[in-house]
């Protein structure tokens, strides 16, 4: 076999893989879903305002229900897309990691993690006290990193990591200033901005979505 032929076959295989990967990607959908969910959650952060104590955690309840439904919607969308386009990747790891992170942020896994000395306490501190209300948004970013791994998308991995950092910083700022009312109002603005970032990224990914022509026509 000639070397140039080997090189040609390598390039051809790489091109096929790249095309298949492009056809598989649908990052825009989870970005839009969780962006909209984040935007809708913003007014609920105002209800956290309370005098002399913690109010009922409507935000936590909202994220528990809406976040879980969000992942169900994402899983259903990927399945539908697979039927339309004719090629599908397994998003199960993303959905499992995403849902796991949501449960983690609500402390549902903490009793289990308490079995590990110090780890449970650290996690409880993180989820309940350190970034109240922001933990689910951090979890969305971390979930996106898992999706990036599934879809082998470097840009989404970078975006998800940066988004998680920004959401964490917003939560830490809130925690530092939680005794001031301005911090509560600031948290509403922060959540709105974070939601807008997700939605904007969703539209950008949608614009560069390269689905086959027949699938575009079918959808």
């Amino acid at each position: 076999m000639q070397a140039d032929e080997a090189l040609e076959m390598l390039v051809s295989a790489r091109t096929q893989r790249r095309r298949a990967r492009a056809d598989l990607r649908a990052e825009w959908f989870p970005l839009l879903v969780f962006g909209v969910l984040t935007l809708v959650s913003a007014p609920l952060y105002a209800q956290q305002l309370s005098f002399g104590g913690w109010a009922f955690p409507w935000v936590s309840l909202y994220w528990l229900v809406a976040g879980s439904l969000g992942y169900v919607a994402v899983a259903r969308y990927y399945r539908r897309r697979e039927a339309e386009v004719g090629i599908g990747s397994s998003v199960t790891p993303y959905v499992l990691v995403g849902l796991g992170l949501f449960l983690f942020t609500f402390g549902l896994l903490n009793p289990v993690l308490f079995a590990v000395p110090f780890a449970g306490m650290a996690l409880l501190t993180f989820t309940v006290w350190l970034i109240p209300g922001f933990a689910p948004i951090v979890a969305i970013g971390a979930g996106l990193v898992a999706l990036a791994w599934v879809e082998r998308s470097l840009s989404l991995a970078v975006f998800g990591a940066c988004f998680s950092v920004v959401a964490t910083l917003s939560g830490l700022y809130f925690f530092d200033n939680r005794l001031y009312f301005s911090a509560w109002y600031q948290s509403i603005a922060d959540v709105t901005v974070l939601g807008l970032i997700l939605v904007s990224a969703g539209f950008v990914y949608r614009a560069v979505d390269r689905r086959p022509a027949r699938a575009r026509g079918a959808s």
């Binding site: 090189l7 390598l10 051809s12 893989r17 598989l24 386009v85 004719g86 397994s90």
Partner: protein, 121 residues
């Protein structure tokens, strides 16, 4: 040391079959129509290649219905993944041998000789 061509697997080394497995390496599964469009093949041609890959145990073919429409899904097996990895490795070895042979040949040529790099000092 054996020549890398010895390690080439005749089943997957064929260009179209390599393309089929390359697509499947990225996906959980792909349907017959997608593979046909992606690789620009006829129904008969794709069927023949899939049959060869299935007989070698490199792909798994599942036939079913979606509504009233028949649908054929193809997925790569563990054996297929391993074969694809080995094939890529062998192809890279061949390409690298060629590249290093080129360097040796270029170094052996006298400046100004026919075929020598005119920019080389």
């Amino acid at each position: 040391m054996t020549h890398p061509t010895v390690e080439l697997d005749e089943v997957i080394h064929q260009r179209t079959r390599l393309g089929i497995v390359a697509v499947l390496m990225e996906a959980k599964r792909a349907d017959f129509r997608y593979l046909k469009d992606a690789l620009d093949l006829t129904d008969g041609n794709l069927s023949r290649h899939l049959q060869i890959l299935e007989q070698a145990g490199y792909v798994r073919i599942t036939k079913g219905f979606e509504g009233k429409r028949p649908r054929t899904w193809v997925a790569v097996t563990k054996l297929g993944r391993d074969a694809f990895g080995a094939e890529m490795y062998a192809l890279r070895q061949i390409a690298e041998r060629f590249a290093s042979a080129e360097v040796v040949n270029d170094a052996g040529r006298e400046p100004g000789a026919a075929g020598a790099d005119p920019l080389a000092t």
